[in-house]
């Protein structure tokens, strides 16, 4: 298992290297020069040239690339061209913000999606099944920004249940320790703030959760249906087990593998794909951070940001693969 993990990690290297190379060239293909962008349009050519030199952008591409790679190997993600801060430090709060959001979204998506899928499969062709699946379909058919605005309109403005946007009440800000606000408030024992944080999380998480929730519900349903047709389920029922037990013990564990795959893929997508949600809900997350970096042509930030998301993505999927082995004794990695 360990050696498998190590091997898998090693095999990620070419993928991440390829990704880095593609990002490297792609962002340089974007018209616009970081020096120019940083200085604004008012800058003179000499100033731009000087900054270009200072930023090392006048070097041949391979020098730049290997310089960057060299940094990566020592764990240095480089410096933001714009703020000149080390990306290692700068990126963390953004990453944490998005991770917290994505995590909550995923929890919601999994809890609701999996259960809806199970119940739908269990009562196949019942009204619940139809309603849940139609809702799931509408869920995947909904543009997320539209959903976000609607949520605000209903829950913040009309019902006044939830705050409109942001991560916290800025009037009484949270002392950050880990940048996971839920954790931070708990560490500090500030239950009042904890609830504020939770309230802020609700709407964006739901907006972000909609699509994975719908996908998970559909996948769960179809794999459950398939599993429930299998021989061992018939065996379990022939033993006189309760249907509930059969479904949640015997079927779910078998159905969970494809669901896990989807969860892995979706979590990755959530991390990078949260830009719209982050924009609508003023969430200071990594998606917007990178998006801004694209606008600023902040090469190292774009590069490292995308690389980090990709690393998280492949790590999650690696964990998912390892989870398979934990769930399914037939799968042995060695």
């Amino acid at each position: 298992m360990l050696s498998y993990t190590v091997k898998r990690l090693l095999s990620l290297i070419p993928v991440l290297l390829g990704l880095t190379l593609i990002v490297f060239f792609m962002i340089r293909a974007i018209p616009g020069n970081p020096a120019q962008t940083i200085l604004g349009q008012l800058a003179t050519d000499e100033a731009v040239a000087a900054l270009t030199k200072q930023l090392g952008l006048d070097q041949p591409w391979y020098t730049q690339f290997f310089h960057y790679l060299g940094g990566l190997f020592t764990g240095d993600l480089g410096e933001s061209l714009r703020t000149k801060s080390p990306i290692n430090e700068e990126i963390w709060p953004f990453l944490a913000a998005t991770a917290e959001l994505a995590f909550c979204a995923m929890i919601i998506a999994i809890v609701i999606g999996v259960n809806a899928g199970i119940i739908s499969a269990w009562f196949q062709n019942s009204w619940f099944d139809y309603v849940a699946m139609i809702l799931a379909l509408i869920g995947v058919s909904m543009p997320i920004f539209w959903l976000g605005l609607m949520e605000q309109w209903v829950f913040a403005i009309n019902l006044e249940w939830l705050p409109t946007s942001g991560r916290e009440n800025v009037r009484a800000p949270i002392e950050t320790i880990t940048n996971f606000y839920i954790l931070d408030t708990l560490i500090q024992g500030r239950m009042d703030q904890f609830w504020v944080v939770v309230k802020h999380l609700v709407m964006p998480s739901f907006a972000l959760a909609t699509i994975p929730m719908a996908i998970i519900a559909r996948i769960t349903r179809s794999t459950m249906l398939e599993v429930m047709k299998s021989d061992f389920i018939r065996t379990a029922r022939a033993k006189g087990l309760r249907m509930f037990w059969v479904v949640y013990k015997h079927s779910l564990k078998n159905a969970i593998i494809p669901v896990l795959t989807i969860i892995g893929l979706q979590t990755g997508l959530l991390l990078g794909g949260a830009i719209l949600t982050e924009t609508i809900f003023s969430w200071p997350g990594i998606g917007r951070y990178i998006y801004d970096a694209i606008n600023y042509r902040d090469y190292p930030v774009i590069q490292s940001g995308i690389l980090i998301i990709a690393v998280i993505f492949v790590t999650i999927n690696l964990i998912v693969d390892l989870l398979y082995a934990a769930i399914d004794p037939r799968i042995k990695y060695n």
């Binding site: 498998y4 091997k7 898998r8 090693l10 095999s11 060695n334």
Partner: protein, 323 residues
């Protein structure tokens, strides 16, 4: 009736077991391990053995659908294993195969006509009308109707599909047909239809069969000679009658004893085999059967017995007879 059509010598097929990311070989499955036999023209050689003992693999390696690891296959004096890919492809006109699963072996998206026509197309029958005519003829031969030509496989029952599979094998007028468990997926009453058909066709077209099966009754019925395989090895081979009347190898004996006889009066006390078939990835040393053999001797655990002619035209691989 003793002209040798096919001669297999020391045939081996090892499947690598790959592991790790780099796909390194970490072991091998000895699916076919040093098998030698011959098939005479016009006869039917039956191959029996338990599941996973390498029967299908043998059949496939013969046709080079799988590349043999070692050994030679001589067909009409020509070594198939040495042929170039293109020559081998042409050679397949002479050797055809009928598969076990009548559901999986027909392309679900082709009509019967297309399925039967394809062998002709690939072997260069250009005339469309000619092809159509021959398809129709062949359908009649295997007991189907020409109006079946336009239908798709899923519209047929298992027995009918197996007829289509047989028809396909016959389209190129082959000399040798390797039938890989052609009846084991069929019901009893249908099974006999197909067996009869195969026999009729053999007479009609002077075919030679290698008939793979695990049902000893079927093998006995259809075969002139029978080979018994165990764990990738041929343990016994002789004429069908001899084998069933006087099996030599302990495994063959046990196998025969295990068959349920459809007669309530024959309640013979059986000598049951202990244990299960070992894994071909990790076969026992010496005689592969020694772990389950009731007559196991010390030598069996260490030395692999050779297939030798113990009685005239009766070969067995067992130390009991190696005096």
């Amino acid at each position: 009736m003793s002209e040798v059509l096919l001669k297999v010598d020391k045939l081996k097929k090892y499947f690598p077991i790959t592991g790790g990311v780099l796909g390194r070989k970490v072991g091998e499955v000895k699916a076919v391990d040093d098998v030698s036999f011959f098939v005479n023209k016009g006869e039917t050689l039956g191959l029996v053995g338990e599941s996973g003992c390498g029967k299908s693999t043998t059949g496939r390696v013969l046709m080079r659908l799988l590349e043999p690891t070692e050994g030679t296959v001589e067909f009409e004096g020509q070594d198939l294993t040495k042929l170039k890919a293109e020559d081998m492809r042409r050679m397949r006109k002479e050797i055809q195969m009928v598969f076990q699963d009548p559901f999986a072996s027909l392309n679900p998206r082709h009509t019967v006509e297309k399925i039967l026509e394809e062998p002709l197309i690939v072997h260069g029958v250009k005339d469309k009308e000619e092809r159509k005519r021959r398809v129709r003829e062949m359908l009649e031969v295997v007991g189907l109707n020409s109006y079946h030509a336009k239908r798709y496989p899923h519209q047929f029952s298992g027995g009918q599909r197996q007829r289509i599979g047989i028809a396909r094998a016959l389209m190129t007028k082959p000399k040798l047909i390797i039938a890989d468990e052609p009846v084991s997926a069929l019901d009893v009453s249908i099974q006999s239809q197909v067996l009869n058909l195969l026999e009729d066709l053999q007479k009609e077209f002077q075919l030679t069969y290698i008939f793979i099966a695990h049902d000893l009754g079927v093998v006995k019925h259809i075969s002139d000679r029978v080979g018994v395989m165990y764990l990738g090895r041929l343990v016994e081979i002789t004429e069908a009658d001899k084998l069933y009347e006087k099996p030599l190898h302990p495994y063959t004996k046990a196998l025969l004893a295990s068959i349920p006889i459809p007669d309530p009066d024959v309640q013979q006390e059986k000598e049951l085999l202990k244990g299960d078939l070992p894994s071909p990835a990790n076969p026992p040393l010496g005689c592969a059967f020694h772990t389950r053999c009731s007559a196991c001797m010390e030598v069996c655990k260490t030395t692999r017995p050779e297939l030798v002619e113990i009685e005239p035209s009766h070969f067995a691989a067992c130390h009991l007879y190696n005096k």
